[in-house]
Amino acid sequence: MTINPLALDRRTRTMMVILGCLILFSAIFLGAWLYGEQGQVTNLALRKLPPGWNQPFGTDWLGRDMFARTIKGLRISLEIGLAAATCSAIIALLLGLAAATMGRIVDVSVTWLCDVGMATPHLVLLILISFACGGGAKGVIIAVAASHWPALTRVIRAEVMQLRTSDYIKLSHRLGKSPAWIARHHFLPHVVPQFLVGLLLLFPHAILHAAGLTFLGFGMSPHTPEIGTLLAESMRYLTTGMWWLAVAPGLALVLSAMTFDVLGNNVRALLDPKTLRE
């Protein structure tokens, strides 16, 4: 048994971690907003500088400050990831519920759809959908949203199917409640924790996949590039020794993804009564 110096129980610790994560994300959004146009301003006199006092992450080949660009890029990556993951999760929720409650045909169709969705390697599917949407940030969001729902759908479906066999549901049915009512009042509340955790854990995947897509050149965002684009641009300068163009944005991405992971796992711990009061 580990001794906890602050004598906080697990629940409190978890909440503090969650709070910490949320503060970090707010800081990113705030920082991006505060920086305003700075990531765009070129300064041809200050090109290609390594990290130093005035430029913590260095400058790029047009003299733009890499710190500003990284923060802004991170914000865009987060936005894209959040938008895509949320869409995906909602799709998964609806499909999972439908599969478990609307009869055998719907169930088989949804399961079949999941299989098809998972039949191709993830990145190939992303490339295909991105191509179909003609690229751009919109294409990336659609591609990521359209490819991440199968796994969560299965989880929700399994959860609800299990629920259906429990006594109180059967009772409800006997008492004459319609399937829609049962879905809304019994299944939904029960499934929400799973949904929330699933959503949070989808974020890092969505963010990383979006970065991968833009790195490959599919989602060149017109206005401000996100991390994948920053990294793709920095590839051209790797051998000339401008290492700061790649290390900083990448690290920022990794840390963000990890933070979401931590957030998701802690929320799961919080919502799961079994591990709550350890």
């Binding site: 070129t42 047009l62 965002s221 017109p222 206005h223 641009e233 790797l238 051998t239």
Partner: protein, 532 residues
């Protein structure tokens, strides 16, 4: 399977491999037999001239009827004589005898005819739609019949490599037998191409017998050059500032230009048949266009965005034989720009630094292809230069497809052109461009200019067309250039930068067209080693 097994079975051998791997010998300096080049993108489609291989100038494996020398003058290659008939509808070309393909079979007029007729139907990136028919009169005379008179058709005689009729088919691109100075020995797709001198070549035999072309990303190429494994390396200008041991920087002027295209008509709600918006209310005012031209400091653009590797551009065809030197003007003159705007009625009445006229602000967006950092740099820098004169130009990166398919007729766009044929000028400025109009996207119309351009196409010879091309730019009273209608703000001409092994002499390079890399091989049969 435990850690011990892992170490012995996997990690140790790997370690041995890494430390004992053989480093490649520095081939170039010691044994100058093979020339290694990294020039640019791989021609994934293969080396079939009927599909467009070599259309930038010289197909390497095949030979062409005519070619251009270092001064871009047209000189004979396979052809010994070429005449255009009175109605400008038929070229009669006599070809030299005794030419054989690299497999020994003779090259006759039938092969020329086959090549032209096939290229017209092949659906590749070479456009011979004006060719009616090619016919062989005898073994060494060909008649090329055109549908419409067009002096620029001569460009195809300069760039279309001749393929052997008997050996040509769908797989020809991967086994291109031709009569050029070199022949393809081996192609490892995605990696490299091995090429050797063609012993049966009819021209001056190349001094360098073996070439290896490598295809790789830019920084892998530079790393290879640093390691002494490359003799000729094409780099983009922003990477030309470094030092590579054993190599010198070879700078080649080009007509590869970049400029701002202005929508020339006001926005009246009109749309193209495909639904694209036409016109811009700010740039349709000639005062704005001229002011932009005069305010920009082109030399600063060259220094800042191109790292000094370029020269200012004042027109679309700078320094080509059909360039009109009278269109030059003194730029970097913000005072003159302001005067022009003031006189035309653009005043800053509300003190926000942006001029207004008739209720509209002197504001527009400059679009550039997001994938192109050079155009991005130009857009950003130009925007900074226009601020002080009261014009707000906002740079905006857009997906190339969107620019082409939605925005090109109503926004200012950074475009780049530059080729060896004046046909480009015709396409950029003539008013009869059909849909889709990528070329004269600004809807520029000037009947006087149109007349000169039409007359140029109808000229009886290439040289006689030249004064007409010049008049279209400026004839003393009107023209498409800045002294005239200022339909574009041309910004810079790129220099194409190459690193060359200091023991290699590449002769005098032609002024290169748009698209850097392969054009430097135009005179590759004259290259030779100079060290011993």
């Amino acid at each position: 399977m435990n850690v011990r097994h892992f170490l012995i079975g996997v990690a140790l051998p790997l370690l041995l491999v890494v430390t004992s791997c053989d480093r490649q010998q520095k081939v170039s300096a010691d044994t100058p037999k093979t020339l290694t080049l990294i020039l640019g993108e791989e021609n994934t489609e293969g080396f079939d001239p009927t599909l467009g291989w070599g259309s930038y100038g010289n197909p390497l494996f095949q030979s062409t009827l005519l070619k251009r020398d270092a001064d871009l003058k047209i000189v004979p290659d396979l052809a010994t004589d070429w005449t255009l008939d009175d109605r400008q509808l038929a070229w009669t070309v006599k070809i030299r005898t005794g030419v054989v393909f690299s497999d020994g079979s003779p090259l006759t007029a039938r092969d020329v005819v086959y090549t032209f007729n096939t290229a017209a139907k092949a659906g590749g990136v070479v456009d011979l739609s004006n060719l009616q028919q090619a016919e062989a009169i005898d073994d060494s005379t060909v008649i090329l019949r055109l549908k419409l008179p067009d002096i620029t058709f001569i460009q195809h005689l300069i760039t279309l490599g001749i393929v052997p009729e008997k050996l040509h088919g769908p797989g020809y691109g991967r086994k291109p037998i031709g009569s050029g100075p070199y022949r393809l020995v081996r192609w490892d797709e995605g990696q490299q191409m091995i090429v050797e001198a063609n012993d049966r070549y009819y021209g001056s035999k190349p001094s360098i017998k073996r070439l290896v072309f490598l295809f790789s990303t830019e920084d892998a190429a530079i790393a290879a050059a640093m390691a002494g494994k490359v003799d000729v390396l094409g780099v983009s200008s922003n990477l030309a500032g470094q030092k590579i041991p054993g190599m010198t920087l070879h700078v080649v002027k080009s007509v590869d230009n970049r400029g701002l295209m202005f929508p020339m008509v006001p926005d009246t709600g009109r749309k193209t048949p495909r639904g694209l918006a036409i016109g811009n209310n700010v740039t349709s005012d000639i005062a704005i266009r001229k002011a932009v031209n005069y305010a920009i400091n082109r030399q600063a653009l060259v220094n800042g965005v191109l790292d000094g590797h370029g020269r200012p551009a004042f027109g679309a065809v700078d320094d080509l034989p059909w360039d009109n030197p009278e269109i030059r003007f003194k730029d970097n003159d913000p005072e003159k720009a302001k005067a022009i705007l003031e006189e035309a009625g653009w005043h800053d009445t509300d003190g926000d630094g942006i001029r207004e006229k008739g209720g509209k602000k002197a504001e527009f967006e400059i679009l550039y292809n997001t994938k192109d950092s050079l155009r991005q740099g130009l857009a950003l820098a130009v925007s900074d230069m226009l601020r002080p004169i009261g014009i707000k130009a906002v740079p905006r990166g857009e997906n190339w497809d969107r620019i082409k398919d939605e925005l090109t007729h109503s926004f200012v766009v950074v475009y780049g052109f530059g080729g060896h044929s004046p046909l480009e000028m015709y396409k950029l400025y003539h008013s009869n461009g059909p849909e889709p109009m990528y070329w004269n996207a600004g809807f520029y119309v000037n009947p006087v200019v149109d007349k000169y351009l039409d007359q140029a196409l109808l000229a009886p010879s290439f040289d006689e067309a030249i004064p007409l091309w010049k008049k279209a730019q400026w004839d003393g009273k009107t023209g498409l250039s800045t002294p005239g209608d200022a339909s574009w703000a041309w910004l810079v001409n790129l220099d194409h930068t190459y690193f060359i092994n200091q023991c290699l002499d590449v002769g005098r390079s032609q002024m290169e067209p748009h698209g850097h890399g392969w054009p430097i091989t135009a005179n590759i049969d004259q290259w030779h080693w100079i060290c011993k």
